[in-house]
C-alpha cells in the first residue's frame, strides 16, 4: 500500500511506489472519458480552489474539468484578477480563498517554492500545478502514463529532452520521475540552457548541444517550447534555434524507430517541432492531454476523499455490503 499523500508539491519527494499507485488510479479515469455521461457524484459537495497566479489555459481547464467530472465545484482565481494587481500578498490571497472552505487548492505561481510555502500555512491538500522553474508534477505524471501505455513500460528507457531545460519545470519533474525508474537522459539544447544540477543527483544524465547526437538510440523525445515570455532574450536568435534544434522527421529517424515524441504544449509548429512530426504516428501530444485529465481526476479523487473524518474515526477498511 503506497504511503499516503497529503500534498503534491513535487515529484522529487515521491517514491516509485506512490507514482505507480497514482498512474494505476488514473487508468479507470482514462476509460471514464469514453462514457456517454461524464459526471460522477464522487466529489459532490466538495470544492476545488484553482489559484492560478500565472497565466494558463490548458492546465487550468484540465483541472477544472477533472473537478467538475468528479462532481466537485470550483473556485477560480486567475492571474489578471484585480486583488493581485492591487498588491495583495500571496499568503493573504490564499488565506482569503481558504476562509471560504475549499477542500483542496490547485496552485500555479511564477515563483519556485510557492506551492510549498502555501502548503505550510494551510491544512487542506495543496496540488502544485507549476511553480516557477521548479516542478510541474502532474505534467510528469501524465507524460509517464503516456509512455507506459504506448511502450508498455517506463523503466530503463533512453529519454532525450530538447530545449530550454534550465528554465523548465516540466523537464525537472520528468527527470525526477523517470529517473526513479532507471531511465537515462540526454539533455539537448544551446549550452547555456543545459544545467549540470542533475549530474550530482546520481542520475544517468549527459548533455549534448548537437541534436543528431542527442537523438541517437532515444526511446522518448520530449520537446520543450522556447519560453519567450520567461526570458528577456533567448540564448539564440529564433531562426538559429530552428536550424540547430528543431525536431524534424529526418532527425527523428536517428532515434529508435518506435521512439515516442512528447510535448507538454502548447506547440509552436515550425519552431521547436516540424509539423510533420507533430502530426506523425510517433507524436503523443493529444494522448498526453487526455491522460492529463485522467491523472488529475485520479489525483483529486485520492487527495480529497481521504479526509479528516477518516483520521478521526480510524474507520475499518471493510465496505458494508
Amino acid at each position: 500500500m503506497a504511503e499516503r499523500l497529503r500534498d503534491l508539491l513535487g515529484i522529487e519527494e515521491l517514491t516509485a511506489q506512490q507514482i505507480a499507485f497514482l498512474l494505476d488510479e488514473a487508468k479507470p479515469f482514462q476509460e471514464f472519458q469514453r462514457h456517454p455521461l461524464k459526471k460522477l457524484a464522487t466529489l459532490r459537495g466538495k470544492t476545488v480552489a484553482l489559484a492560478f497566479f500565472e497565466a494558463s489555459t490548458r492546465t487550468r481547464i484540465s483541472f477544472a474539468t477533472a473537478a467538475s467530472r468528479l462532481g466537485a465545484d470550483t473556485m477560480n482565481l486567475q492571474a489578471e484578477s484585480s486583488s493581485l494587481k492591487k498588491g495583495e500578498s500571496l499568503l493573504d490571497t490564499v488565506r482569503t480563498l481558504d476562509a471560504m472552505k475549499p477542500d483542496c487548492i490547485v496552485m500555479r505561481h511564477g515563483s519556485s517554492g510557492a506551492a510549498d510555502f502555501v502548503a505550510r500555512h494551510l491544512d487542506i491538500p495543496v496540488i502544485n500545478a507549476g511553480d516557477g522553474t521548479h516542478e510541474h508534477p502532474t505534467q510528469a505524471l501524465l507524460d509517464a502514463l503516456t509512455i507506459r501505455d504506448r511502450r508498455g513500460t517506463m523503466e530503463k528507457l533512453n529519454v532525450t529532452i530538447i530545449g530550454d531545460i534550465l528554465h523548465s519545470r516540466v523537464a525537472r519533474s520528468n527527470l525526477h520521475l523517470l529517473g526513479k525508474f532507471g531511465c537515462c537522459f540526454t539533455l539537448c539544447g544551446p549550452p547555456m540552457w543545459l544545467p549540470r544540477e542533475f549530474e550530482c543527483l546520481g542520475k544517468q544524465v549527459r548533455r549534448s548541444s548537437r541534436i543528431e547526437e542527442a537523438l541517437e538510440g532515444a526511446d522518448v523525445a520530449i520537446v520543450l517550447r522556447v519560453q519567450q515570455e520567461r526570458l528577456h532574450e533567448p540564448a539564440l536568435p529564433l531562426d538559429e534555434y530552428i536550424l540547430l534544434y528543431q525536431l524534424t522527421p529526418e532527425r527523428l529517424k536517428l532515434a529508435r524507430p518506435d521512439a515516442l515524441v512528447l510535448h507538454p504544449g502548447p506547440m509552436i509548429r515550425g519552431l521547436e517541432i516540424d509539423p510533420a512530426v507533430a502530426d506523425g504516428p510517433q507524436s503523443c501530444v493529444l494522448e498526453q492531454v487526455t491522460n492529463g485529465l485522467a491523472v488529475r481526476m485520479a489525483l483529486l479523487f485520492v487527495m480529497i476523499t481521504t479526509g479528516s473524518e477518516a483520521d478521526e474515526a480510524k474507520g475499518s477498511a471493510h465496505a458494508a455490503h
Binding site: 500500500m1 503506497a2 499516503r4 499523500l5 499507485f21 494505476d24 488510479e25 487508468k27 479507470p28 479515469f29 476509460e31 462514457h35 456517454p36 455521461l37 459526471k39 460522477l40 457524484a41 464522487t42 485520479a298 479523487f301 485520492v302 476523499t305 481521504t306 479526509g307 473524518e309 477518516a310 483520521d311 474515526a313 480510524k314 474507520g315 475499518s316 477498511a317 471493510h318 465496505a319 458494508a320 455490503h321
Partner: protein
C-alpha cells in the same frame, strides 16, 4: 481489529452445487436470455458471474455476456477510509441500453454496494431491468434492496463477518463466518 473463525457456512462442493442451482433458476425465471447480461461486482462478484455464465452455457447453450464493475467511485463512505482507496477498472463490453442486467455479488448485507452498483450502471445507459444474484444473503438491510436469486440465507449479527473465499481470488474455496474481537 482481530478476527476469529467461528463456523464454515459452505464447502467448495456446496458452493459449486449452489451456483449450478442459481444458474438454473435464472434461466427459468428470466423469460428468455436474449438480452440478459451478467455484471460481477468487484472483487468476488466477478468470478461468481463468470461461473454462473459458464453454468448457463452448460444448461441452455447460451452465451450470456459478462461485465465487471468496480463501485469504488460510487461508494457512500469514501471519507471514512483512512488510506487511499484503490480503484480498479470496470469492463462492460456491451451497451447498457435495454439490457436485462443481473448484478452478481458474493454477499448481500446492508445493500449499499448494490445501490452504488446501480448508480454505476445508470451512468452507462438505461437497462430494461436490474436484478441481483448473491451467494449469501446475510440480512441487516439498510436500504430497500433485495436479491432475486440467493444461494443461501444466513442469520448473522453485526459483529460477524461473512467471508467468501474463492479459488480465483483467495487460496481456498469456502464460506466462513468469522467474528470481530476487540
Amino acid at each position: 481489529m482481530r478476527v476469529v473463525e467461528k463456523t464454515q457456512l459452505m464447502s467448495a462442493t456446496e458452493i459449486e452445487r449452489t451456483l449450478q442451482r442459481v444458474a438454473h433458476e435464472i434461466v427459468e425465471k428470466s423469460g428468455g436470455t436474449a438480452n440478459l447480461a451478467l455484471i460481477g461486482i468487484r472483487r468476488r462478484g466477478v468470478p461468481l458471474a463468470q461461473r454462473i455464465a459458464r453454468a448457463m452455457h452448460g444448461i441452455e447453450r447460451v452465451e450470456v455476456p459478462v461485465g465487471t464493475l468496480d463501485i469504488t467511485l460510487y461508494r457512500d463512505d469514501l471519507s471514512k477510509i483512512a488510506s487511499h482507496p484503490v480503484l480498479h477498472s470496470s469492463d462492460i463490453p456491451f451497451a447498457m441500453d435495454d439490457k436485462d442486467v443481473l448484478l452478481v455479488d458474493d454477499v448481500l448485507y446492508t445493500g449499499r454496494t448494490a445501490r452504488a452498483a446501480m448508480n454505476g450502471l445508470f451512468d452507462l445507459g438505461r437497462p430494461s431491468r436490474v436484478r441481483m444474484a448473491v451467494l449469501i444473503d446475510r440480512g441487516h438491510r439498510e436500504l430497500p434492496i433485495e436479491a432475486s436469486f440467493i444461494g443461501r440465507s444466513v442469520q448473522t449479527s453485526s459483529r460477524e463477518i461473512v467471508e467468501v473465499r474463492l479459488k480465483e481470488t483467495d487460496k481456498e474455496e469456502r464460506v466462513m463466518l468469522v467474528e470481530r474481537v476487540e
